[in-house]
């Protein structure tokens, strides 16, 4: 298993665990007393599950198993593939911490969310460019 795949899958499993914990927390009787917090955690919960777990698990396994043009490298540009991994995770972690804050707390939080979006988007695009090449060139 290539190192990038191991990192993707390990992070995916950690995000899965975090999503499950939030799910348990939201289901515990009495957690409604924390109502607004759990309402604000809802988008974080979905994105921990779908971006953190599902998408990163898919990207990691695809990086491992998709056909390769040569036998030496999994990616034409390994540095870009690692950059994609870093951008997606930095963006997602930023989102996890900033999104549940109450609205209108501070202007920088809004800009932080925008930065998180740009990081995840650019990371996703880089990762897909690496994989797409392998789908079409195989």
């Amino acid at each position: 298993m290539p190192p990038l795949t191991r990192w993707y899958v390990k992070c995916a499993l950690l995000y899965l665990a975090a999503a499950l914990l939030i799910g348990v927390g939201a289901a515990v009787p009495g957690s409604w007393q924390l109502g607004p917090l759990f309402a604000r955690l809802r988008p974080v919960y979905f994105h921990l599950f779908l971006v953190g777990w599902v998408t990163q698990f898919i990207l990691g396994v695809a990086n491992w198993l998709f056909p390769r043009a040569g036998r030496q490298h999994f990616n034409h540009h390994p540095a870009l593939a690692w950059t994609a991994f870093g951008l997606i995770n930095t963006g997602l972690i930023l989102r996890i911490f900033l999104e549940p804050t109450p609205p209108n707390t501070a202007a920088w939080i809004g800009w932080g969310l925008a930065l998180s979006a740009v990081l995840q988007w650019s990371g996703g695009l880089l990762a897909i460019l690496q994989l797409g090449r392998r789908v079409w060139q195989a």
């Binding site: 989102r95 939080i109 969310l113 925008a114 979006a117 988007w121 789908v135 079409w136």
Partner: protein, 137 residues
Amino acid sequence: MKFHPVIRWMLGFSLFYLVLGFTLGSLLLIHKGINLHPLLWNLRPVHIEITLWGFITQLAVGVGYGIFPRYRARRPRGNPAAHTVLVILINLGIVLTILGSWNFAPDWTPAVGAAAKAVGFGGFAVTLWTRMRPYRV
């Protein structure tokens, strides 16, 4: 290793939808942070549709189609022409469902889109079902 054309198209489409999913999701998150335009929230159902059906489901079915057991010497995965039609139906269905979420589209658009997706994914479900066998049988 070379991908079967049906698999290649399904994986290609699913990665394309992932690009769209990341793009729309990022626009929504930026809007949440710094209020770009209120109409952007209308893209939320599109974001969900292309992520869940276009990316995740299509990728899972495409990978299953590629790696499930193949028993027949000729056409080991079944009829490729029929499966190509199913891929077209799936993606036509997704596009129609997206168009149907907007006001300008005719009323029948979401129903036809959902039906096309159902026939497309349903056809692949039948194909995958028939290719599942226990070991040593």
